[in-house]
Amino acid sequence: MSEAITQAFQERISEDDLLNCMKCGFCLPACPTYVETQDEVHSPRGRISLMMAVRDGEIDDVHEVEESLNVCLGCRACEPACPAGVNYGEMLEEARAIFYEHKDVPLQEKALRKTTLNMLFTDQEKMGKATSLLRFYQRSGLQKTARKLKVMNFFPDHMQQMERVLPDVPKRAKQHREVTFPSETDQTKATAAMFKGCLMDTLFHETNQSTITLLNRAGCDVVVPDTQGCCGALHGHSGKKAGAKELAKQNIQAFEQADVDYIITNAGGCGAFLHDYDHLLENDAEWAERAKAFTDKIVDFSTVLMDLDFPNEAALNIDQQIITYQDSCHLRNVLGVADAPRQLIQAIEGAHYIEMPHADQCCGSAGIYNLTQPEMSMQILDHKMENVDTTRATTIVTTNPGCLLQMKLGIERTEQTDTMRAVHLADLLLEALSTEDLNSD
């Protein structure tokens, strides 16, 4: 077993990339798992040296390395911090894929991954059905009954809290088919195709609508191609690369037909993964170039809003409140988007923006990390909430569904649901817009 893994590491993880790490330690303060543990087993350079050890056959029990990689959030905060330009994210994904292919995942985790991944995320139709079920559960009164009967008490604490923060699922009928939403300015300034994202399209359907409205208002035609699927991030991040590649091809095809200036996402996690399609398919002769053309168009909606000068285009007003922003790791570290969301919040009259300490550090959500590594995830979240509290903010803004749920969970855990809320940037902007501007011209 170990030998097979060592061999796979030798074949698939380049020694050049591993050696590129000079062990300078500049990534240490950026890495949330190192900051929490102060243990090099959980630092970027530690993980890189462990991958090297697997490659060199220098460790007897390779599962020790796997464990270290499991604890990694995959937030990639180590990459912008690294002077040497180490491609940590790529190595991590390849290493995880190798471990996944060679190993029996523990039963419970396997079940979890199987349902969340295959059943839900590959197929939006199924995702729709599953969320319909969730909706039924919420609306039917079953949820109340379950809560009363304390059925959830049988689950670990954070799962119970998670259950409480899941948003209400919108009705099936609302989910759109291929539609074009025209720009609301005199002249169309740009054209865009919207990447829906599975979570965004179901649990956060409203947010997608907000995003489209904002873009229209900024002068952008928005089309929503209907043959698109899940971005594949959850497959890629948990080591199922083949599935991710299939999804990538499906999406590239769906968006090629749209022929637009931008491909828009409003979920940092998806955006980053879409942005990496060119890397994912680089060895596929037929697809490499098409993937490149696709990734060149990927942008976050906040970037487009700033490009189109949205803050000057629209009057933005909100009740006086302190607002803080939690970066989406992948939006910041992979797509390099950090200023646009902050500038948009600051453009709202009535919003007092206060930056929280370490806003750029992962909230501990990281895909399904909060389900697979609950302890570390909750430890990180609790520290995050301490940082939120220093700002006295009543609104936490995020740009990714996973982060949004995690911040809601944080509010729930610290029992601040009455005084604090977490919202997606698009919903906040729409809220600021709707009071005056929506139908003003």
Binding site: L19, N20, K23, C24, G25, V41, S49, E64, P83, A84
Partner: protein
């Protein structure tokens, strides 16, 4: 059982603070120096001076090497456990114990990150000047043991100028309390100074009291480019001769300029042979006066361009450009070796030229930047340690560089320390007599050689072949 010493240590610090899994040992096998990786036998994280005392006693009884490790960012193989034993961590001793605004001192545990000290004192209008580029990562324990320097060395000195006192546990388990809060203290030998720069070979620092100064009110930044290294060096000499002491006086050579500009795009003149980055701090009027004088001197000595940063943003950009020198070079090759041969200020031009010639002669790729104000240069080699043939040429080139530095009245290391990496060259600098005396000092503190063995002193004890 042979492993009982580990059990004894577990007993002292608790199971969860002793790691012996292979993955843990591999994760503490390295520091920022290429090619010296070796696994320790255990990784131990004590919480107090008392625990350290007990650990040292166990290790002394069993003759187990102790390798103190801060953040493992040193560049001289100072924390690689090449003789096995215990790697001792300080992340549980991370507290600032006291900030004394009356005596202008701060007392800290060894595991505090240097940058955190700076932040804490600056919030009170005070200043801890030693600023190694690694200050956001490195620990004060590491800084003290390497006597680290930084960009502000010319005007403010280096770590040793700010250490007023330390507590240290030595090999027999005794706790030595050296120095204190007194600026004047001549009671006996200056043991504090002996511990500074001792690279973990004399004892384990468990507490340190540092001197603070008032925070300067303002800062001015100047960038000047030259078409010859001599002109840049002449400018440096004249600045000093005019009794101006800038806070920072940094030098970047042509190869480094190219790499930095490709990486940062801040608009460095890529056709220049050398760039100087000069900063002055202090009251606004003096700052302004000084920086204009310096600009005048630069122009007089043939600067092709000079630019005073108009805004703090621009100043920060220029500073960042210098700080990113290593990053920019590191991106260019699998292995990057950063050295710190140092010469008297007056010899900078000669030394930079010599480095260029040596690189050419050995057919290796070396760029140079560094602290022109104090002659501390960083010849940086871009190579690939898998290329055995090239690696040999790199080692030969560095030996030649050290030799040249010494010939010019300089030293083999200005701020990175000797560690294991440069131990073969130490005798070149201090002579056999020097090594012998140092050896006797070492024996007085650590007769069994358990404190970071193999560091500073070359294994064979003698000089390397030339």
């Amino acid at each position: 059982m042979t492993m009982t010493w580990i059990q004894e240590i577990r007993h002292i610090v608790g199971d969860e603070h002793v790691q012996t899994k292979q993955s843990s040992l591999l994760s503490y096998a390295y520091d920022a120096t290429p090619n010296f990786n070796t696994k320790p036998e255990a990784v131990v994280a004590p919480a107090s001076e008392q625990e350290i005392k007990e650990i040292v006693t166990v290790c002394a009884n069993h003759q187990i090497p102790i390798v103190p490790r801060g953040s493992g960012t040193n560049l001289a193989a100072g924390t690689t456990p090449t003789q096995g034993g215990v790697v001792l961590l300080f992340h549980r001793m991370y507290r600032i114990l006291e900030l004394d605004e009356d005596n202008l001192t701060i007392t800290v545990q060894p595991g505090v990150i240097t940058g955190d000290i700076c932040e804490a004192v600056e919030a009170k209008g005070l200043f801890y000047p030693p600023d190694p580029s690694s200050m956001k990562i490195s620990t004060i324990g590491g800084n003290i043991n390497e006597n680290s320097g930084g960009l502000r060395g010319l005007k403010y000195g280096v770590t040793k100028d700010y250490v007023l006192g330390v507590n240290a546990v030595i090999a027999n388990g005794d706790v030595i309390r050296a120095g204190g809060k007194n600026v004047k203290d001549v009671a006996g030998y200056d043991l504090t100074s002996l511990f500074v720069g001792s690279e973990g070979t004399l004892g384990i620092i468990t507490k340190a009291t540092l001197k603070l100064v008032p925070l300067p009110e303002s800062k001015q930044t100047l960038l000047a480019s030259f078409d010859s290294i001599e002109r840049a060096a002449e400018t440096v000499s004249q600045v000093i001769a005019n009794k101006l002491t800038p806070a920072t006086l940094e030098f970047i050579d042509r190869a480094t300029i190219q790499a930095v500009e490709d990486y940062t795009h801040v608009g460095l003149p890529t056709d220049a042979e050398a760039v100087l980055l000069i900063e002055q701090d202090g009251p606004p009027s003096i700052c302004e006066h000084d920086i204009q004088l310096i600009q005048g001197i630069a122009i007089e000595h043939g600067a092709i361009t000079t630019q005073i940063a108009e805004t703090e943003e621009r100043a920060a950009e220029l500073r960042e450009a210098r700080r990113s020198a290593l990053s920019a070079l590191a991106k260019r090759s699998p292995t990057t070796i950063l050295e710190d041969a140092t010469v008297p200020r007056s010899e900078i031009a000669t030394m930079v030229k010599a480095i260029e010639a040596i690189a050419l002669e050995h057919d290796v790729n070396i760029a140079t930047f560094g602290h022109a104000g104090d002659g501390n240069l960083h010849p940086t080699c871009m190579t690939d340690l898998r290329d055995k043939d090239e690696w040999e040429r790199v080692e030969a080139a560095f030996a030649a560089i050290f030799r040249k530095a010494i010939d010019l009245g300089g030293t083999i290391t200005g701020e990175h320390g000797v560690g294991e990496m440069k131990s073969p060259y130490l005798a070149w600098k201090v002579g056999d007599e020097g090594i012998q005396l140092m050896n006797q000092i070492k024996l007085a503190f650590d007769p069994e050689h358990i404190m970071n063995p193999g560091k500073i002193f070359h294994r064979s004890g003698g000089e390397v072949d030339e």
